[in-house]
Structure formats: structure tokens, C-alpha cells
């Protein structure tokens, strides 16, 4: 069997339609919304702020805490049980690792920057959407960053390399999903996970395609941040 046409009719390297907005939560220090297809990520950043409990404080640098949360009726299939799960904890951790290389919190010892990402509606690619939204919100909070991380999944469905998988493709029996986060200006990869099986050559191709698509997402991020300042009356 070969995968002739994607389930939603996109080209194989076509990203779902994206939209982004910065500064959506007035009480947060920084905030952003990122939508890709039917996946929506809302992110609020608080901090740098006082860190308690005190044993977590690091006198050398501020720390980053990420909270990833999928809302109960956000996805396909079963209701997600509210509150943390093993999955959300893992994703919070990989998100932290994906964002931290771009952040410089040395000027804020003993403090914490809290990143909260909620996903009210999901259609696969949530960790990527969450990282993309978090990067915008961190920039909106005025933090020092060397780059603006962005993330996208690539993968395999049967014999084809596809970019930005939706839930149907993600859960397809013969496939593979590879979320990739990059720092678009240096090309560093800060997140690379894989779920499924793929050949060595296809893996290389998939990562290449993801990095290429990441640059499109970076443009959307950049525009959203700039637009947040352009308005007025």
C-alpha cells in the first residue's frame, strides 16, 4: 500500500494553516496563542518571580518551570483526565529542555520563570504547538533570549514523508511521528523525539523537512510579536 494523498488533502510537505497572537492574557507577564490546524495552544508566562520552595532556588541562575496541560475534552477519543499525568509531566520536561537553550536567566538568580500551556483543542502536534506558543510568550515577557525556538513534527505514513501530522496520521497504524524543535537562526535542534519506526534514510529526510517547515513557523511567530506592537488607536 502506498499513501497517495493525505487524509486532509494537503501536500506532503504542507503545514496546516497557522495563526498566532501575542499578549492575549493581560495579567500575565507574557502570553501567546498559537493555532496550527485544529490544535490550539494558549500560553502564559509569569516571572521572573520569587521561587518557593526555597530548596529549588539556584543561586547561579533563574530556573524555568513548564506546565503542559491538555484540557479534558480537547482531543479525539476519550476525555483526558484533568490534572497532571505521566504524559504531561514528560512533555513539560521535554519542553523545558527545548526552550532553555535559547533563554538566559543568569541575570535573575534564585528566581523562577513559570510557563503555563493549556490546550483547549487538540489534533496532534500539541508539544510542538506548545513550544511555539511558549517561545512567543517568553519573548513577550521581555526575557533575554538568544533565539526564538519553534517546533514542528515530521514523520512517515506508510511510504511517504509527511510534515505536520494531524491526529488521523499520527494514530495511523503504519507510521512514525517525529517532533522537532529548532532554534531557527542557528539551526540547533533542541527537541527530537520519535514514536514509531522509520528507516535511517527516511529519518534524515524527515528531520530535514521539519527544519524547513520550522522556518515557516518562525515567520508566523515573528509577525505575531511585531503585530502586538503595531496596533493602537
Amino acid at each position: 500500500m502506498t499513501y497517495h494523498k493525505r487524509f486532509d488533502g494537503r501536500a506532503f510537505d504542507e503545514v496546516r494553516p497557522m495563526s498566532a497572537q501575542v499578549g492575549i492574557i493581560p495579567n500575565a507577564d507574557g502570553s501567546a496563542r498559537f493555532q496550527i490546524g485544529d490544535t490550539v495552544a494558549l500560553c502564559a508566562v509569569y516571572g521572573p518571580r520569587d521561587l518557593h520552595p526555597r530548596f529549588l532556588q539556584n543561586p547561579g541562575t533563574g530556573i524555568l518551570r513548564v506546565h503542559y496541560n491538555m484540557l479534558p475534552f480537547s482531543g479525539h477519543g476519550d476525555r483526558v483526565r484533568p490534572g497532571g499525568s505521566r504524559r504531561s509531566k514528560e512533555i513539560s520536561m521535554v519542553m523545558q529542555n527545548a526552550l532553555l537553550p535559547a533563554l538566559n536567566l543568569k541575570a535573575y538568580p534564585n528566581t523562577v520563570v513559570d510557563v503555563f500551556v493549556d490546550l483547549p483543542q487538540t489534533d496532534a502536534g500539541t508539544r510542538c504547538a506548545a513550544i511555539t506558543a511558549a517561545a512567543m510568550a517568553l519573548a513577550d515577557a521581555g526575557l533575554e533570549m538568544t533565539d526564538l525556538p519553534c517546533a514542528i513534527a515530521a514523520g512517515r505514513v506508510e511510504d511517504k514523508i509527511v510534515v505536520d501530522l494531524n491526529y488521523e496520521e499520527d494514530s495511523f497504524h503504519d507510521g512514525c511521528d517525529i517532533p522537532v524543535a529548532i532554534l531557527p537562526n542557528t539551526g540547533q535542534v533542541t527537541l527530537l523525539q520519535m514514536d514509531g519506526e522509520i528507516s535511517r534514510d527516511m529519518l534524515k529526510e524527515a528531520i530535514g523537512k521539519a527544519i524547513e517547515a520550522g522556518k515557516k513557523i518562525y515567520q508566523v511567530q515573528k509577525e505575531a510579536i511585531k503585530n502586538s506592537f503595531a496596533k493602537g488607536e
Binding site: G30, N110, G142, T146, N185, G232
Partner: protein, 228 residues
């Protein structure tokens, strides 16, 4: 290779954006050099000043600097002074010695001088590498602030709230008849007739929102005229 500037002057840039190429340019505040290019570290307005590429940050939290006049709030009474909140990730300490010229006897009740929740205009006298902050009440105009209301704006918008030589704040003072003190940490004290206070708060919130747009003073003057 040719050295060139890769952004428009006074345009808004995002972290990671390449601002200029070539070793003949120097990275100013808010930027850094990566290989032969100069890159933005924050969201802000990028400007070219001769050979230096500068970035004026547009948002962020307050970081205390020595000599800043700020508005603080007492959050705890210590053995030898007061712990005050200065609208930043770190709290500051006001010691007895820096608080008053009066003689405070041993074992005196410090809440007689400054109680929990009291606000004061004070000055930063020391900041350590770990951001431990000392403030003082000794200096012209430094005092306890009684009555009125306190609002917060982004510390990066404070220069716009004050205006050139205090033009903006004195305009609001004149229009509303309120007493206004603007702390460098983004806390603003407004004291006057309650109705006038509301107008002043709205005016300041408007400045906070539109600080990066040009023609601000004229717009605020017009708005105050209409609000009367």
C-alpha cells in the same frame, strides 16, 4: 564581504533576529555578537547609533539599579528594619539606620515608624550580584506616601509616563489637579480628588498601552481635554 545593516532603523525586532552583518559594527545593550553578525536578545526597538547597534527593550520586569527612586511597600518587619516589596522578583531591605534620623531605642516597636502595607518613596542604595537590594529614605523628597492610590505600569514605559523633563506627568498633574509620583519600578502613586484620580489612572494606562507609538504627548493632551 560587505558590512551592512539588515534592519530598518527604529523597527521592532524579535530575539534571534540578525540586525547587522560585519565586524565594523558593535553590539550595544540588548544585542550580542554571534560569529560576524549582531543579533537581538530581546523584543524591542533596534536603533543604529554610529557603529553601535542598540536595542531598547519594550517589556520585562524591573531590575533595581543604584540611585533609582522607587515606590516600595512594607511586607515584613525584621529585627533591624523592614522588608519591602519593590515590584520586582527580589524584595529589598530598609534598615533602621537608613529609615530615619530619629533615635530608635533598643527593642522599640518598629511598626510605629513603618507598618505592614505602608508605602514609601525610597532610593536604591546598593544592589549585590545576587540582587540583594538595600533601600534608603535619606534623600530629598523621599517620604512615606499616605492616602491616594497606587497603580502599576511596565517599568520600561516609565520614561514615557514621565516624558521629556517631566512634561507628560506635569501635564496630567495640571489637567487633573492630582499629586503624582512615578517610581522607576513602575509603581505610580496618585493622590487627589477621587474623580480626578480616575481620570489620571486612565491617562496613565493609555500611555502604558501606546508608549511605543509616536505623537504620544499630543494624543494624551487631546484625550485629557476631552476627559474634562
Amino acid at each position: 564581504m560587505k558590512d551592512e545593516i539588515l534592519m530598518e532603523n527604529k523597527s521592532i525586532v524579535v530575539p534571534g533576529e540578525v540586525l547587522a552583518k560585519g565586524m565594523s559594527f558593535l553590539p550595544g545593550p540588548g544585542t550580542y555578537r554571534r560569529d560576524d553578525v549582531i543579533v537581538a536578545k530581546k523584543v524591542g526597538l533596534a536603533t543604529v547609533d554610529g557603529k553601535v547597534i542598540k536595542l531598547i527593550a519594550l517589556n520585562g520586569t524591573y531590575l533595581p539599579r543604584v540611585k533609582d527612586k522607587i515606590i516600595a511597600r512594607v511586607i515584613d518587619v525584621l529585627m533591624t528594619g523592614w522588608r519591602v516589596d519593590i515590584n520586582c522578583p527580589y524584595s529589598a531591605v530598609l534598615t533602621m539606620k537608613d529609615a530615619t534620623n530619629e533615635f530608635i531605642p533598643r527593642g522599640a516597636d518598629l511598626t510605629k515608624y513603618y507598618d505592614l502595607g505602608d508605602h514609601m518613596l525610597c532610593q536604591v542604595v546598593n544592589v549585590t550580584s545576587q540582587n540583594l537590594v538595600d533601600v534608603s529614605m535619606k534623600g530629598p523628597g523621599l517620604r512615606k506616601l499616605k492616602g491616594g492610590r497606587f497603580i502599576k505600569v511596565s517599568p520600561y514605559k516609565v520614561p514615557r509616563v514621565i516624558g521629556k523633563d517631566g512634561s507628560m506627568v506635569s501635564m496630567i498633574k495640571k489637567a487633573t489637579g492630582c499629586d503624582i509620583i512615578v517610581g522607576q519600578n513602575g509603581v505610580i502613586w496618585i493622590n487627589g480628588d477621587p474623580k480626578a484620580e480616575v481620570v489620571a489612572v486612565k491617562a496613565i494606562k493609555k500611555i502604558d498601552k501606546e508608549a511605543h507609538l509616536s505623537g504620544l504627548t499630543d494624543r494624551i493632551a487631546k484625550w485629557l481635554e476631552e476627559a474634562k
